[in-house]
Subunit: 265 residues, 3 copies
């Protein structure tokens, strides 16, 4: 399996599919091509949520505002998966999530954290300087699929590298009185996903909590409140989410990506 993720929207993803199928017979699974455009951090958030649901696979990830510059082409091996994409940070949060998942699933006994491995990919001279998804990353994904994820170092184009661009999400401030974080992303339903861990709502379901100064019902599901009513809940990612039952949380709370959120516990 090779999965495909990008911010390309329509048209261009097909060229990556063609480039892969011209080189190998992998099964192709579209993850999303509507990742927020040229937004490396939002892409990293969504892929960190989505890719660990997959069995070991090659994941082609192209959010690449620096296409054609000298940023590296990066391969990351993590938890049996291979990630292929530009070296701009988008791959590393996913890699950590894949490593953690792999560890929690294996019967690890040595207590030592086995981390992910990073390789620089040396592409043949690409046909274009504006579409490395088609000309560099898709061929790399096909080559790794054919060689096997365990054999990345055996492919002549891959050399180990330690210098990679990392990316992290802002940490929330949580104490017994208050949790202060921010909205990481807004999903298509308008639900505002924060960086505050869902555990701050433990034991408070059915109560009201002050969210940015307004009392909001804490619900285990969207439907615990009437349609059109705001609630605070824990989303499928395990974080605090601000939402409206059958409506849009971003509009009702007047929140967007990056807005700060204060929860009085």
């Amino acid at each position: 399996v090779i999965t495909l993720s990008s911010d390309f929207d329509s048209f261009y993803p097909a060229a990556m599919k063609g480039a892969i199928l011209s080189r190998c017979d992998a099964r192709l699974i579209d993850v999303s091509h509507e990742l927020p455009r040229q937004n490396v951090r939002a892409g990293a958030f969504w892929l960190r949520e989505l890719l660990p649901t997959f069995p070991p696979a090659v994941h082609l990830v192209v959010i690449d505002p620096g296409v054609g510059t000298d940023r590296k082409a990066l391969i990351v091996r993590a938890g049996g998966h291979a990630l292929v994409g530009p070296d701009n940070g988008v791959l590393l949060p996913v890699a950590r999530a894949l490593t953690n998942k792999s560890e929690s699933e294996s019967e690890g006994t040595d207590g030592e954290r086995r981390s992910f491995e990073t390789f620089e990919w040396h592409a043949d001279d690409p046909a274009s300087r504006t579409f490395h998804g088609r000309d560099v990353f898709a061929p790399a994904a096909a080559r790794i699929h054919e060689a096997g994820i365990a054999s990345i170092e055996g492919t002549v184009a891959a050399t180990p590298t330690e210098e990679v661009v990392d990316l992290s999400f802002p940490d929330p401030t949580v104490d017994t009185e208050v949790a202060i974080g921010e909205v990481l992303v807004v999903d298509g339903f308008g639900n505002c996903v924060t960086n505050v861990p869902g555990t701050v709502l433990d034991g408070r379901y059915g109560d009201e909590l002050a969210i940015n100064g307004e009392l909001i019902c804490v619900g285990a599901t969207y439907a615990t409140v009437d349609p059109g009513t705001r609630l605070v809940t824990v989303g499928s990612h395990g974080n605090v989410e601000l939402a409206v039952n059958r409506g849009r949380g971003d509009e009702a709370f007047d929140l967007g990506s990056g807005t700060s959120v204060r929860i009085d516990r």
Copy 2:
């Protein structure tokens, strides 16, 4: 084959794909993830049109405004297909369509209508209360795919149930003088699909009929009228459709989902 249908738009469908592929090697076919959001009736309409085109398969359907409440997880077996989704009515119109298609294709001789069968699915305690598509329905679809559609009752999680939420579309009033119905859905081209059977236009192609009081050409194809001109035709679903050649019928007729339509025959 497992098909996937939802109102999730981007991002979340990939988590269902990952959850399935982690459990079985089924072939995945996206039907649509842009079904009208949290609109069970519109989803039922489109799936009733689309899923009967498929050969027997497991169809995962997630339009689920009641996620996390005590609404059942439902499995329906109909015409050799299995439908998996929430018990809110979205599956039943499709089930009837699949049963009818199966009957009309088989050489039925006993004259007795073999209907569909319904099962409640008892999920393991799901990881989230807000994303049963990933945590309940996708695993159920994978399990049924592995067990075989004929063996749903052999899977420990499925028990027969008779109490299911049904859903029906409004009936039109049709007599020799007039047909009164309503717009069921508007498609992406702006074509307004009504609940009036296409047979009311039989023998009238080339004529004009009064539609909500205005004379409109009856055409067998969109291109029977000039670009930009309104027409009444029969859509691919067999119902009367109000359209504009190379334009949007919803705007030109000022119609939307639920608007009433009167045809003087």
Copy 3:
């Protein structure tokens, strides 16, 4: 492999998938279903860019404003591929691109241009006159997939035809002083793809050129200019493209499909 391309957006493509899978077990690859609506020329442009990236396959292409009229159903065999769609010109630019690619890849010695072959497809009486994607073209694609692309003439429904609707893109005027062309399409990033060959920028990278009278930087990659700054570059299709680094070229240059572009060299 059968690829699917259309201007259907959501819902209707699934009916084509079902119609194919009911007839054969082909692997299905979505190219795009968001091709510009009922815009044969723009569809032809994108498919000419995308389909040659694929290995030999059956390509189902449905942009069909004349559905239900007496326009032919067309099959084109080119470079080992088969194209299936309406006879309105959308298939021919792709066919030429597939033929050229096939020639440049083979060790052609006879110097003679082997062109593509065109067949009319005689469908069984289709179920609808408004959805030939489902009722005519998808079944034809399945039949050709089963028969084999080399054996199209062996299928009873296909007869050779020479009379087909062609389509060409406007030619630019290029001399040593000036190149005058037009915008062919605008992609989802807002990049304006022109019909001017990228070779007019040879040797000018880093310079400024007058584009419609304004001096614009010539860059090999989007990131050669600051975010928000306009540039002229060569896109992945080999043509001159007017863009903004991390922004929208169509808005910044005030250009759209069909607008003329003058480059003083």
